[in-house]
């Protein structure tokens, strides 16, 4: 059966269309909705940046840090990116071990993921306070140029940071429940569902990194 025939069979057959548990399907539909929310934020940012007559602040300079006398552009953002990718890697492996029914390693890898996520949020808090206190960036204006820079920055990274925070909490809860044995009979698909959410948060960061920090 070709892939298109399978679509017809899935939609036309007298059966449930999507061959997966409702929990996983609902997570996918939630993520689809979230895709639209983040897209609208990024499109709003694009519109503000394209239509302003003032110079857009140079993100490379705004987010530069001086470490040991060295002026390094975007360094904290790069570290945050690597941390989030690493956490996605540990999450993917947690899902893998959950399907191997290796509960102990899966829980351990989920905790590692949560710790990495928490450190991401910590770095973001550092970045925000540096921008607000030292650089004087506000949602309504800043000393470097177009006033919309602050509004777009706080809105987009703030919403993403909330997602990471929620993900850390979700990971801790699910890791605890898996450890306690709540899913021993049902199977460990919950780890994959949690993983979908976590990978999505990483996915959104890929777009924010490209459009907000690098563009």
């Amino acid at each position: 059966m070709t892939r298109w025939q399978s679509v017809v069979a899935d939609w036309g057959g007298e059966k449930q269309t999507f061959d997966m548990s409702w929990g996983k399907l609902m997570m996918w539909i939630f993520l689809l909705g979230d895709t639209f929310i983040f897209s609208i934020f990024l499109i709003g940012y694009m519109s503000a940046r394209m239509s302003t007559t003032e110079a857009w602040p140079n993100a490379s300079e705004v987010f530069a840090l001086t470490i040991a006398g060295q002026h390094i552009p975007l360094v904290l953002i790069a570290i945050m990116t690597f941390i989030l990718i690493t956490s996605s890697g540990t999450m993917a492996m947690a899902v893998n071990y959950a399907y191997q029914k290796n509960k102990k390693v899966a829980v351990y890898l989920m905790l590692v993921t949560a710790v990495l996520g928490a450190s991401f949020v910590g770095m973001q808090a550092f970045e925000w306070s540096k921008l607000i206190i030292e650089e004087g960036i506000r949602p309504w204006g800043n000393p470097m140029g177009a006033p919309q820079f602050g509004a777009a920055f706080f809105m987009i990274t703030g919403f993403h940071g909330l997602h990471v925070t929620a993900g850390v909490i979700l990971l801790l809860i699910i890791a605890h429940k898996v450890h306690r044995g709540d899913y021993d009979k049902k199977g460990y698909q919950i780890v994959e569902i949690t993983g979908l959410y976590w990978h999505f948060v990483d996915l959104v960061w890929v777009f924010i990194f490209a459009f907000f920090y690098l563009w």
């Binding site: 892939r3 298109w4 399978s6 679509v7 899935d10 939609w11 269309t17 999507f18 061959d19 997966m20 996918w28 539909i29 689809l32 895709t35 639209f36 897209s39 609208i40 499109i43 694009m46 519109s47 394209m50 239509s51 302003t52 007559t53 490379s60 552009p73 975007l74 790069a78 990116t81 690597f82 990718i85 690493t86 996605s88 890697g89 999450m91 993917a92 492996m93 893998n96 399907y99 191997q100 698909q189 994959e192 993983g195 979908l196 990978h199 999505f200 990483d202 996915l203 890929v206 777009f207 990194f209 490209a210 920090y213 690098l214 563009w215």
Partner: protein, 110 residues
């Protein structure tokens, strides 16, 4: 048939595959960082940023989120609606150009 699909999605893949994807994501992130570090500018900068972005997003979706092993019906559910976003981007960039042009006219013309 249902059993088969379950197996293909929940199939246990070798850990090495995840490590390879992880390494690739690291590499691609380093490349996108270097675009900024070496201050590549203009069309070249934008193409590099977009290429590395789509490769990273594709790897995360396909392998980490297991989309390649899902059925076509789910892939359509995930990838058809976002096409509306592309239309929206096109509309808003035309609109923003228009606003920019009008701002130039009304702020700076005498």
């Amino acid at each position: 048939m249902n059993e088969q699909t379950k197996e293909s999605v929940e199939k246990v893949h070798p850990i090495g595959m995840y490590l390879k994807v992880w390494f690739l994501l690291f590499l691609l992130s380093t490349f996108s960082y270097l675009v900024d570090f070496y201050q590549v500018q203009g069309m070249l900068r934008w193409s590099f940023i977009l290429i590395f972005m789509f490769l990273k997003a594709g790897l995360i979706l396909a392998i980490f989120m297991h989309v390649v092993w899902e059925r076509m019906a789910l892939k359509l559910l995930l990838f058809l609606p976002p096409l509306a976003i592309l239309v929206f981007i096109a509309l808003m960039s035309i609109e923003s150009d228009y606003v920019f042009f009008n701002r130039l006219l009304s702020f700076f013309s005498t």
